[in-house]
Each structure stands twice: as C-alpha cells, then as structure tokens.
C-alpha cells in the first residue's frame, strides 16, 4: 500500500493474502482515477441528472416549534432509491467500470445498499449479486423485490447470525474466489483499506452540500449535527466537512432493547478488535468471538463500525450515544405526523436523539439531522408497532 491504512490505530488490512493485490489495485484506482476530472465529471453527471442531487435541506417548522430550536433535515431520503447509499454505489460502480471489472457484488442489511448497487449495476451495465441475510430478506421484503426488478441476483446468507455481518462474510468469500474480474462494492465505511476512505469520499457530498445550504440559509454554520451510525457512512459523509469547525457532532447507534438487552451500539458498548478487514470497535466476548447484534432497523444491526469513527470516538471529536428500538419507532411516528416525512428506521435513531438534544439548545440555535433514508421499506414494522390496521 502507498497510502496510510490507518485512522490513528484503527483500520488496516486484516484480510487473507489473496485479497491484498485487489486492495492494492483498488488503492491505485482511488489515488489516480477518482480525482481525475473526467471521472469526477461523469460521476457528478450521474449524481445530478440521474440520482437527483443536490438533495434539499428542509427547515422543519413544526418540530422546530416543538423542540425549541431551528431543526433542519438533510433530505437523503429524497435521493433516487430512497437513501444515501446510492452516492457510494454510483461512485464505486463507475470506478469498477473504469478499472475494467466485469461484475459487482455487494452485501446488504436493510436492502438499501443492495437496491443502490442493483440500480448502479443496471445503469452502468454491470451484473450484480447481492448477499443478504435470511432474516433481513424476510424483514425487508420490498427491497428484495426492488433488487430483483433491477436485475440483481439476491443470494441468501444463511450462515452465522443470518444478518448483515454474515452477508459481509459471504461477500468477502465470493470476492476471494472471483477477485480478478469482480469488484466488491462495500456499502459502508467499513472493511479493509482503502474502503473506509473511498466510501467516505463518495459520501462527503452530504456534508459539503449541507455546509453550503446552511451558510446560505442561516449565514453561519450549524451548532449541532446528528446522524445515525450503522457502519457509519451517512454519518462520516455528513461529519467530515465539519471536523475542523466549531460544530458539535453526534453519532447515534442502535441501542436495541436498551440497558441490559441486546444491542447494536458498537462504539458505546464494544471494544477494539478485527472484523471484516479492519481494526475497530466491535461487539465481542472475552475470547474475541464476535457477538450477535440486535436492532429493529436492519441497517444498524451490525456488531462492527467504521475505523474512522473509532478514532473520532477516542478523540471525543464526535459524541456517540444510542437510542433504543422503541425510541426510534416513536421518533419515526413523530416525524411522520408532525412533518409528513416518513424516515427510515435507521434515520429515526438520529431523529430520536435530536429530540433529546434539542432540550440543551436555544431557540435560535441550529441543528441539522442527517435523514439518511425514507421509511417505506419499514412500513410493515412501523404499522405493527403503531397498531395501525392497513
């Protein structure tokens, strides 16, 4: 590798030898192809006229009044496909094409990244295989149908916990056997170097747009920014352009069942270790066996987290906390009723945290919530929780 592979002590390349040359090739592409003006021009063409960037920054009048501060939503839910995942999927699919790869594989939890990759594959003409845990195939059925419509094959991951963690394992195994012509389009800022940097750079558009939009509207930077953290891609994409500014940053993990129960709060409850190619915080037992995570939201149901977040946690530049399944579901209903916006259960975690955080903010202080995706995929879960008959 030519670039540094670590964020502080975190990150690295903990993968079998077979994958190292592919990671070196990808790093080379990251250094030379990604910054190239013709690549950037083509990508920004896809992002604007195909995906619908830039996404709006919405001032929420009702909840601003409720919460006693100025609340903006960065509307990644309005991006084509319904979540921020498409920023990264289009970036990597185009990169794979420039690299001469013939096939894309991906893992997915909530199905949003699978859908984004299926779309990116359709539009760039690359065949797509998506690994998805059995359990998630069941709870995110609408997204499974969408992936298939876009021409992707959905391969059930039936090993281990049968959720996102094992979907990543299966994708890595596939890649190890087909590494010459396949690109592994990883869906978050996790995995071995250079994925955490590559995915962050494709998601930074969230933060750079937000910065310009807030400055335009408020004439100053926000006081606080809140984003949910699964692997951490919407959060790092939002936070990164603000790291050197006087802006408080809050990452919200899946607290699952709450104190003493099952959880997906890796940074809050975990300890450092290696999973999926990187050294980072991890839910694990005393012998280093990876623990099973739990969250009502499939996209946050992951026992690992991106290595850059681990560094930001240790340095306290970002404050990480968690909200429970129940708080997230309540926040989902709250935003739907008060603003007519149905957030994904993942993004609902950020909304739930923001409701509490607002208590410490004044009326004229500005808070931005990363609304990473829309909640149509979660309708069944949310309706059941709300006791609404359809």
């Amino acid at each position: 590798m030519i670039l540094g592979t670590r964020f502080g002590e975190y990150g690295g390349c903990f993968v079998p030898e077979t994958l190292i040359p592919a990671l070196e090739e990808l790093e080379e592409a990251y250094r030379t192809i990604v910054p190239d003006p013709s690549f950037q021009k083509e990508l920004s063409g896809y992002l604007t006229e195909f995906a619908g960037r830039e996404t709006p920054l919405t001032l929420c009048r009702n909840i601003s009044q409720d919460l006693g501060c100025r609340v903006y939503l960065k509307r990644e839910d309005l991006l084509h496909s319904g979540a921020h995942k498409l920023n990264n999927a289009l970036g990597q699919a185009l990169l794979a094409k420039y690299m001469g790869k013939k096939r894309l594989i991906a893992e997915t939890g909530a199905g949003q990244h699978g859908v984004a990759t299926a779309i990116a594959g359709a539009v760039t003409g690359l065949p797509v295989d998506v690994y998805m845990g059995d359990v998630d195939i069941e709870r995110q059925a609408p997204n499974v149908a969408r992936m298939k419509l876009f021409g992707a094959r959905v391969i059930p991951a039936s090993s281990g916990t049968r959720t996102l963690k094992d979907a990543v394992n299966e994708a890595l195994r596939d890649w190890t056997g087909n590494v010459r012509d396949t690109h592994y389009l990883i869906g978050s800022v996790v995995g071995p170097h250079p994925f955490p940097s590559l995915v962050r750079d494709f998601q930074r558009v969230i933060g750079t747009e937000t910065r310009v939009q807030v400055l335009e509207r408020e004439g100053r930077l926000p006081d606080a920014i809140v984003a949910c953290v699964g692997g951490g891609s919407n959060a790092i994409g939002m936070f990164h352009p603000f790291l050197d500014d006087d802006v408080a940053l809050y990452g919200v993990e899946a607290g699952g069942e709450g104190e003493g129960g099952r959880t997906g709060a890796t940074l809050c409850k975990g300890s450092p270790g290696t999973l999926h190619g990187a050294y980072s915080y991890l839910l694990q037992d005393n012998y280093g066996q990876v623990a099973e995570s739990h969250s009502v939201s499939a996209g946050l149901d992951y026992p690992g987290v991106g290595p850059e977040h681990s560094m930001l946690r240790d340095s306290s530049r970002v404050t990480y906390s968690s909200v429970t399944d129940r708080e997230a579901l309540d926040a989902c209903l709250y935003l739907s009723r008060r603003e007519g916006i149905l957030p994904a259960l993942e993004s609902s975690h950020a909304v739930a945290y923001a409701r509490n955080l607002a208590m410490s903010l004044d009326r004229d202080q500005v808070m931005v919530i990363s609304l990473s995706g829309r909640g149509d995929k979660d309708l069944a879960t949310v309706m059941e929780y709300a006791g609404v008959q359809v």
């Binding site: 993968v15 079998p16 090993s159 094992d166 195994r173 999973l275 050294y279």
Partner: protein, 284 residues
C-alpha cells in the same frame, strides 16, 4: 526445551516428502474426540497437526470448516480450552502442532500473552488467515520471542516481488494457497498452483506446503511430483468428522483411514471403513 521452529524443522528433515499436515478444528465435535483424533492422526502417519482455533467469522473458510467452527464454538471451545487440549496432547506426543486462527482471538487475549501461552502449551507454529504481510509485524515479533514459527501464506494472486518479501519474513514453512477462494475440497490440481510452487521454491530455502482443496492420493502424488515439501489436508478431514458426527469411534477411524490413504498413496483405502485404527480404541 526445543523451540517450535526447531520441532517443525526436524519434522521436515526427518519425514518422507511430501509430509502430510493434518487439520482439525479443536473441539469439533468435542474435546475428548479432538484429542482422540489428534492421537489417531499421529498413529496414522501424519507429520504435523494443524489445529484450528475456531472463530465466529471465518471468512477464509468454505462451508465445511465454517460448520466445524460453529460446532466447536457451540460446544464451548475457546482459547483456554484449546491451550489445555494441546498441553494434554503434548504431554504424550512429540509431533509438531501448529495453530490456525484469525486475528481477533489473538488480539483479544493480547498478542504477546497469546504467543507465550501458546508456546507454554506446546504449540510450535501459528498461521493467521487474515493477517497478511502488511499486518504481521506485532504477531511475528511475539512469535519470535516465544520460539514459535509464524507461518506466512502465499496465494495465486501474489505477484513475484511480493512473494520474495513474504517468504523472507516467513518461519517454519511457507503455506501455499493452492486455489483461489476459500477452503473446501476441490477436484484435481490447478496448473497455476504448480507454477506458483516453483516460483516460491525459487525464492526460499524454507519448505513449502500447498493447502486448500487437497483431498485425494492422486492430488498428493501430483504435488509430490511437483516437489512440494508437504501437503495440508483440511476440509476433507473435517468432512469425515461431520459425516460421522455422533459416532466418535467412527470419526476417529475415518480420519485415520483418510490419512493412511493420503500418506501411502493408496486410493482404495480412502473412506472404505475396512481398516481400523492401528492402536485400538482411543482412550477417552
């Protein structure tokens, strides 16, 4: 006390090539059967035992070894119990034992502590499937100071100049990944892997042992002809253990038969169940 590195070197010096390195997952299906399997491997002529410390997320492994890891973990296998198993085995046997695992169980225990305890238990070499050359420094340093051989892997994707770097840091022997992809039984031998063996041997005086996909006497003969110093047999053995699950004596017999067939190149003996273990029923 003999260091692990020396014990491995002795095995390569004394044994008839190719040596057979026999793999099993510690605690699959349980500790007493593992011990019996290790004894039977030794009696059947295996030259080195490779013991897997199971991990929850074995990304370098195919379904057969994944299931074995799960069986062992759900039976309560862990790092302490693995060291106890090796200590018990070492008190009666001299055959080299190498450990195969992933980075996290080692990191969790503390790298230095892991290697010291491993050496104390009688482990001679360590292979870590997800620690490539880039990440090996702390593991190799701890191995060196505890007399354990840190075994390096070379794959069909590894370019020539990288092979040179890897083998110069390797100890004990070089593990040649003989197929692209994860562990699992494969038919035949990839000619590219035979070429890779030559490329590796041209760059090191260490013994070279291909693994991944080797299960038949015919494959062993191909590797012998190509000049391999050893062959590593994993999934084929684990498959025997899985197939005869619930019948500990059958498991032990089956493993012994497979190793004898591979060792003596007689395909007809493989898996026929006609040949019992050479030293009677294992004591557990």
């Amino acid at each position: 006390m003999t260091s692990g590195e020396e014990r491995i070197a002795c095995a390569f010096g004394a044994g008839k090539k190719p040596l057979v390195i026999a793999f099993t997952v510690a605690g699959d299906p349980d500790v007493p059967t593992s011990l019996a399997i290790m004894r039977e491997m030794t009696a059947a002529g295996a030259d080195i035992i490779e013991l897997g410390l199971p991990w929850s997320d074995p990304v370098a492994d195919g379904p057969v070894i994944q299931r074995a890891d799960l069986r062992a973990l759900s039976g309560g296998m862990n790092t302490d119990r693995l060291f106890d198993l090796v200590r018990r085995f070492r008190s009666e046997q001299e055959i080299p034992v190498i450990l195969l695992t992933y980075a996290n169980p080692v990191l969790r225990r503390g790298v230095d502590r892991f290697y010291l305890e491993a050496a104390d238990a009688g482990i001679d070499g360590v292979v870590i499937a997800d620690v490539p050359f880039e990440e090996t420094a702390p593991f190799s340093a701890a191995a060196r100071s505890s007399g354990i051989a840190q075994i390096a892997m070379v794959s069909p994707m590894t370019p020539p100049e990288r092979i040179s770097r890897i083998v110069s840091a390797g100890r004990g022997f070089i593990y040649l990944v003989a197929a692209l992809g994860v562990t699992g039984v494969r038919q035949g031998t990839d000619p590219a892997a035979i070429d890779l063996l030559a490329a590796v041997k041209a760059r090191t005086t260490l013994p070279v042992a291909p693994g991944f996909g080797i299960s038949s006497p015919e494959q062993v003969r191909e590797w012998e002809a190509a000049g391999a110093d050893a062959v590593i047999v994993g999934s084929a053995i684990v498959q025997v253990i899985e197939t005869r699950h619930g019948d500990p004596e059958g498991v032990v017999c089956g493993v012994g038969e497979l190793i004898r067939a591979l060792k003596h190149g007689c395909p007809d003996n493989a898996g026929t169940g006609l040949q019992g273990p050479s030293h009677g029923t294992p004591a557990w």
